[in-house]
């Protein structure tokens, strides 16, 4: 049984523990700054066009969400016409049951997996394990997390909190238990570590007959699924097995093939900071004689329709999971991903998780406060999600739900933790950009957006001073 986020303490407590772990902070800081710089440089190459692409990306996604029923039906029809089978899962339990049934029908007890946020969200691997099916993660970072019985801490690079030395230890200790052992004398040179992963998974790719994936995009008009990746593990899973099962959130739809003109520019540059990721696979149903001959698409709701119903919070469903907002967030940089208690960490997690889970726990209620509202996440978001706006909106919901007393307690608790943590205190004392507290802007003309290359990594106002003002203003 792999690790789970169940039992993770609410954000303030978890954050306090995390900021004390200096090795994690060091790894994270280095990694997020590397990726931030790369992103800024490739986004800069597109000059003013970036904001036009960003506006179009936001508009396409917003339009799709506003007519999601129509596009879901269209996608179902296109995929079916191309030889795929479409299944609908209202929640995690149903999705897990569908996938388990489909795998069992193949007679296999091993499946290979491409990294997928949706299957992490529903904890599919645990469900499969209970049914006697072993799911092998094949993305390098996912493999590291799985072998180390750890939890993902980043959307794109789930093992971002681990450095090369720790990864080497995990490989040496654990690979033999899962399959091909690590080569003796393995060093912590990233090249050697990548080579070890290649050797470890090679046989598995060649013989496993069922694969599970997610998708970055599902194109309604053509019925095409799209997966962007780097290592080739995605291609292995999407090409070699006989049966492919893709679990895809209902918000992943784009209306037309031509929309990829936009998203194939926005996503690689925002996520890995490359002009293009090494590999992108697209497939439409089944191609006789090439690739899996059986294709199942599992459309997952699992709280998404609740997010959709909130006219302010809805924009969170535009997210294309690039992770740029994590990489630029001063709070994430100091707390790491685990503090967010969900597979969706960072700014997007702070607005998505409480909405998906219905603000049903102390963790969820604390998440909207996991931000200094500096606005850096909005500036880098390729689909212009106004994360601070949603955060403020959710804070209002938390306080309304808790009543006056509850609100006071929440405020006191959050303030105690945020201001007592040296790391967070330092972040919030730093000078800011004088951003409005409650962003009044909505995605509009490109000219309104500031140059994303100079995003400050510090809040506009300290949490404490914001908190005080807000409290006084209300009393």
């Amino acid at each position: 049984m792999s690790a789970t986020f169940l039992g993770i303490p609410p954000f303030p407590e978890a954050a306090r523990a995390a900021v004390d772990d200096s090795r994690t902070r060091h790894n994270l800081r280095r990694a997020t700054h590397t990726i931030r710089d790369k992103r800024a440089s490739v986004v800069g190459e597109l000059n003013d066009d970036w904001q036009l692409l960003r506006a179009e990306g936001a508009a396409v996604k917003e339009h799709t969400l506003r007519h999601l029923d129509r596009y879901l039906e269209q996608l179902e029809e296109s995929v079916t016409r191309a030889g795929g089978r479409v299944h609908w899962a209202a929640d995690a339990e149903e999705a897990n049951a569908i996938v388990t049934r489909l795998v069992k029908a193949t007679g296999e007890t091993d499946v290979v997996k491409v990294k997928s946020m949706a299957t992490q969200e529903i904890e599919l691997n645990n469900a499969l394990a209970e049914a006697g099916i072993t799911a092998y993660e094949t993305d390098l970072a996912e493999l590291i997390v799985q072998l180390g019985d750890d939890l993902p801490s980043h959307i794109l690079v789930p093992a971002i909190h681990l450095g090369r030395a720790q990864i080497r230890e995990i490989f040496l200790d654990q690979m033999a238990e899962w399959g091909t052992p690590a080569p003796p004398g393995l060093t912590d040179d990233p090249r050697a570590l990548a080579e070890a992963a290649r050797l470890h998974l090679r046989e598995r790719f060649l013989r496993t007959r069922t694969a599970i994936s997610g998708a970055n995009f599902a194109v309604a008009d053509s019925g095409t699924l799209v997966v962007l990746e780097s290592e080739g593990n995605g291609r292995m899973c999407l090409t070699l097995p006989q049966t492919l099962i893709s679990v895809v959130g209902i918000e992943k739809i784009v209306p037309t093939w031509s929309d990829l003109e936009v998203f194939m520019q926005l996503l690689p540059r925002s996520s890995t900071g490359e002009r293009m990721n090494p590999y992108t696979s697209t497939w439409t149903g089944v191609t006789p004689g090439d690739g899996p001959q059986e294709f199942h698409l599992v459309l997952l709701d699992n709280g998404r329709t609740d997010v959709l119903a909130d006219t302010v919070g809805r924009q969170a469903l535009r997210c294309i999971r690039c992770s740029a907002c994590l990489n630029t967030c001063p709070v994430y940089e100091r707390t790491g991903g685990h503090a967010y208690g969900s597979v969706y960490p960072g700014p997007i997690g702070a607005i998505l998780t409480p909405q998906l889970r219905g603000m049903s726990s102390a963790v969820d209620e604390a998440l909207p406060y996991a931000s200094s509202l500096c606005g850096a996440c909005y500036e880098v978001c390729p689909v212009a999600i106004d994360i601070p706006e949603v955060l403020v909106h959710l804070r209002e919901e938390v306080s309304a739900g808790r009543g006056h007393l509850g609100e006071k307690a929440l405020m006191a608790g959050a303030e105690a933790v945020f201001s007592s943590s040296r790391a967070l205190g330092a972040a919030q004392r730093a000078a800011g950009l004088g951003r409005n507290l409650v962003p009044g802007h909505l995605p509009g003309t490109a000219g309104e957006w500031t140059d994303t290359r100079d995003v400050p990594d510090v809040p506009a106002e300290s949490f404490r001073s914001w908190w005080n003002k807000r409290g006084k203003g209300q009393r």
């Binding site: 790894n27 590397t34 000059n47 066009d49 179009e56 508009a59 506003r66 007519h67 029923d69 129509r70 879901l72 039906e73 179902e76 029809e77 089978r85 609908w88 899962a89 209202a90 993305d139 390098l140 590291i144 690079v157 093992a159 990233p190 090249r191 990548a194 992963a197 998974l201 060649l206 053509s222 780097s230 290592e231 080739g232 593990n233 291609r235 090409t239 070699l240 209306p255 031509s258 929309d259 003109e261 194939m264 520019q265 490359e274 002009r275 293009m276 090494p278 590999y279 696979s281 697209t282 497939w283 439409t284 191609t287 006789p288 690739g291 709701d301 329709t305 609740d306 959709l308 119903a309």
Partner: protein
């Protein structure tokens, strides 16, 4: 006009989503019902089809197409050679030689002429008569054409046409030699998307396989071919 929220019944019935037994699974209707309820704020006359706003540029090329393509390929650690059309066979032979490749797979649409002079054995593979994955794992490389290439991103796109073959053949071998004709190279991503047929299985390749998972540094060479070599063919002078 948004016809979609008027509660009509789906035309396709259970053929689309049914389990082994059922007609329309109830979750389908439940999810669609929830979606429609969630969108109560959307005016019923809001157009459900959107004219795409395509104000953005087709490309952001920083120079002559082929120069940019070559530069971007190199930037992502692919090997590139620009060759005149009448030297393709010689360059294929030389590349396979340098690699020490003795047995290479090539799909049926790859012209025999490309192998004139090559010492390596050409292994056929097709949808009808595929090599096993074990066989593919044992070959020294693969030679293909491509369908479109994108200069700005250093990308080649394969679409399964006869000169590009099944997806597995360009994945399992460790060395991929791809012959790109100059006229197949477009400047930017939007132009490529317009030329591609989504009904075909597409593979976009930008450099050799790589990972950024260890401390976010790009390291070439994980599961896909660790060496990508591109012969960029221009009209003979």
């Amino acid at each position: 006009m948004s016809a979609s929220r008027t509660g009509r019944t789906p035309g396709r019935g259970g053929a689309a989503g049914g389990g082994p037994r059922g007609p329309v699974p109830s979750s389908r209707e439940r999810i669609l019902g929830r979606v429609r309820a969630a969108l109560a704020d959307v005016p019923s006359d809001e157009p459900a089809v959107r004219a795409p706003g395509r104000g953005f540029a087709d490309s952001h090329a920083a120079g002559p197409t082929l120069d940019v393509f070559e530069d971007r390929l190199r930037d992502y650690k692919a090997q590139v050679r620009r060759v005149p059309a009448d030297r393709v066979a010689a360059e294929v032979a030389a590349a396979l030689d340098r690699r020490g490749a003795q047995r290479v797979v090539a799909p049926p649409g790859v012209p025999d002429a490309w192998f004139d002079g090559a010492a390596a054995e050409r292994l056929p593979d097709s949808r009808e008569e595929p090599l096993s994955v074990g066989d593919l794992n044992g070959v020294d490389g693969v030679v293909t054409g491509c369908s479109v290439a994108i200069a700005e991103t250093g990308t080649i796109v394969l679409d399964g046409s006869p000169d590009q073959g099944r997806r597995a053949i360009t994945l399992v071998p460790d060395y991929h030699l791809c012959v790109v004709r100059a006229e197949q190279v477009v400047d930017g991503v939007p132009q490529a998307v317009r030329l591609l047929d989504p009904a075909r299985p597409l593979t976009w390749i930008s450099g050799p396989s790589a990972t950024s998972d260890i401390e976010l540094n790009r390291v070439e060479g994980v599961h896909g071919p660790r060496t990508l070599e591109v012969l960029l063919v221009e009209a003979a002078p």
